[in-house]
């Protein structure tokens, strides 16, 4: 196993995206184990590499761009108020509702799943507590957002006046769910994220509750394969979560 001293020669190249093959795999695996030394050094390397942006010849964007951007933001706010949902999302929501109608036999099976899920949730909570004590959670979220190859999933609300929720998926770094002004569910309820596969039933990606000002920053531990996902959905569930959605999802977004 490689140690920090051997890996330090790769920090800058990795921040630059030039590292490849075994060297890259080794450093990534080491970082994934949460080495504080290398994590901090990688942050420094990323800062250094970002400074290379000043090598670009200076250019001026058109005045139109600023107007377009501010219009888009104003328009987004209007959209948040209007709360719009496309036809395909309704189809997805209806499919989910159908899936929540269980036979008695299935209900018994679900009991076992529920116990397993509660155990998972407990483990995830403990893991989250450990993460929250550090800046790691934010750093991971920012890393996912800014990484190469990250794809965005816009989860549209099915009801006024909920705002949109955005998820960002990176094959190597994982998934982050981000939102503003998200309402807080009742004390005994929580939001639950679902990965809806192209075939089969939704798979839980864990539960979350917004912060005091409705901010959501959720990094689920993914059991589901995002490569097979058709959509992400969020429904309101009991505080411990459900094995399958028991309410119509409030947000749905296609994974393209």
């Amino acid at each position: 196993m490689a140690d920090c001293e051997q890996l330090r020669q790769h920090y800058e190249a990795h921040a630059l995206g030039a590292l490849e093959g075994e060297e890259r795999v080794e450093l990534d695996a080491h970082l994934a184990r949460g080495c504080p030394v290398c994590t901090a050094e990688m942050e420094r390397a990323r800062w250094l590499v970002a400074q290379l942006a000043y090598l670009a010849p200076e250019a001026e964007p058109s005045g139109r761009l600023r107007r377009k951007l501010l219009e888009a933001v104003g328009g987004q706010r209007a959209l948040e108020r209007r709360a719009w949902i496309p036809a395909w999302a309704w189809a997805g929501a209806v499919a989910l509702v159908l899936l929540t109608v269980f036979s008695v036999r299935e209900a018994r099976r679900v009991q076992g799943e529920l116990a397993a899920l509660q155990e998972q949730v407990r483990a995830a909570r403990e893991q989250n507590r450990a993460l929250e004590s550090d800046r790691q959670l934010y750093q991971r979220a920012l890393a996912i957002l800014s990484a190469a190859g990250t794809r965005e999933v816009a989860l549209k609300p099915g009801q006024a006046p909920l705002p949109e929720v955005h998820a960002y998926w990176n094959a190597e770094l994982g998934l982050v769910v981000s939102g503003h002004h998200i309402p807080t569910p009742a004390a005994d309820r929580a939001w639950q994220l679902w990965v809806v596969p192209k075939k089969g039933k939704p798979i839980s990606a864990g539960i979350f509750r917004p912060g005091t000002e409705g901010q959501v920053l959720f990094l689920p531990q993914l059991e589901a394969r995002m490569a097979d996902a058709a959509a992400l959905a969020i429904s309101e569930e009991p505080a411990a979560g459900s094995p399958q959605p028991t309410t119509t999802p409030l947000w749905v977004g296609p994974v393209s």
Partner: protein
């Protein structure tokens, strides 16, 4: 940033005025076309708008992060384009006839930092500078650069590393 978190559109205007030139310059250098560069820049600032709650000033300055986001989005776009182009060419052929900020950021202001980056990288031997530029602006890996420059892989690796370490020294001088 605080106003941005509260979703005051004017706050985005302020952020834009401060950083748009530098972000646009970077994206244009990668994308080469003004129209696609503007689209990418708009997308970058929209992402910031949507995720403003992730930033806390105590977690470091926003600019390096904006650069990282902008660079990766622009390189993603270019890869997508190349992929499309490649596929188009293949179909044609198949037819007959056819970011933690270190202290220097606090010490050295942006203008001086930009000057130091340009002068340090500019002072490197041409092939070494070229290697760093191919990695940063074209998103090439070590072996791709070695091939493009027809230089040994080990040489390319050490050029990039020593070049960046010298840059760090230059930026950390008070």
């Amino acid at each position: 940033m605080d106003q941005l978190v509260r979703r005051v559109p004017e706050a985005l205007g302020v952020l834009y005025d401060r950083h748009a030139r530098a972000v646009y310059s970077l994206v244009l250098r990668i994308a080469q076309q003004a129209a696609s560069a503007e689209e990418i820049v708009q997308d970058v600032f929209l992402q910031v708008w949507r995720n403003a709650h992730l930033y806390q000033p105590s977690r470091g300055p926003v600019e390096p992060w904006l650069f990282t986001l902008a660079r990766n989005r622009a390189l993603d776009q270019m890869r997508l384009k190349r992929e499309k182009q490649r596929r188009r060419e293949e179909t044609l052929e198949s037819q007959p006839l056819a970011c933690a900020a270190p202290n220097p950021e606090l010490l050295v202001d942006r203008q001086r930092r930009a000057e130091r980056v340009r002068s340090l990288i500019g002072s490197l031997p041409v092939p070494q500078r070229k290697a760093i530029e191919l990695a940063f602006f074209e998103g090439m890996t070590h072996s791709e650069i070695a091939k493009a420059l027809q230089e040994p892989l080990g040489t390319v690796k050490s050029w990039i590393r020593t070049g960046l370490l010298r840059l760090r020294e230059a930026l950390e001088e008070a």
